[in-house]
Amino acid sequence: MNNRLRALRAERMWSQQHLADQLDVSRQSVNAIETGRYDPSLPLAFRIAELFDLAIEDVFVSPSLVA
């Protein structure tokens, strides 16, 4: 699933480790989500969106909207 996590993190100049610490997950999890190799569960997706003060659809791109 495509997402804007890397861009959002870059805007805040956060490292992957910093984001991982805030989400209480490992850095490798953040990396896997950013690169689209792992789709987070709904609770984790909500935590990510809430951390950036955004709606889920502002962070993650719905697969049905991708051509």
């Binding site: 209480d24 997950v25 490992s26 490798q28 999890s29 990396n31 896997a32 989500i33 690169t35 190799r37 792992y38 987070p40 569960s41 984790l44």
Partner: protein, 135 residues
């Protein structure tokens, strides 16, 4: 891999069980060398304790899967255990039929547990191949 509390507890349990297994196996081998026809209670205990320590590793893996809070890391381990189970059960089934029809020599069943642990390593390789270097 992550160094979560669950992971550390899992590593300690595996290390403890592995060290205990090595000691128990040495003790059992020594016992049966001196008592080749042993059928006493001590013989049964000597034979079962190494198995219990291997089972302890299975329990540690199960406990880790329950306690690990990082869902991505947990998924990696689940995939490893699925690969390991598929490999060990497939080999056990295959060998069982070959052995039943006397086309293969007898293999002690505990070897399939060893194959299962090898399958964990294979699963880790598959994770890295399919999910990238960090998996």
């Amino acid at each position: 891999m992550t160094s979560s509390r669950a992971r550390r507890r899992y590593s300690m349990a595996v290390l403890g069980c592995s060290a205990g297994y090595a000691g128990a196996l040495f003790g059992a081998t020594s016992y049966f060398k001196n008592h080749p026809d042993g059928r006493s209670l001590v013989a049964y205990i000597a034979a079962i304790v190494p198995a219990l320590l291997i089972i302890g590793i299975f329990v540690a893996i199960g406990r880790y899967l329950v306690e690990e809070r990082d869902e991505f890391v947990r998924m990696l381990m689940i995939r490893q255990t699925l690969v390991a189970s598929g490999l060990a059960l497939s080999l056990a089934t295959l060998w069982g039929f070959l052995e039943s029809f006397r086309l293969a020599p007898h293999v002690d069943a505990y070897w399939f547990a060893i194959v299962w642990f090898g399958g964990l390593g294979l699963g880790a390789c598959i994770n890295r191949f399919t999910l990238g270097r960090e998996a």
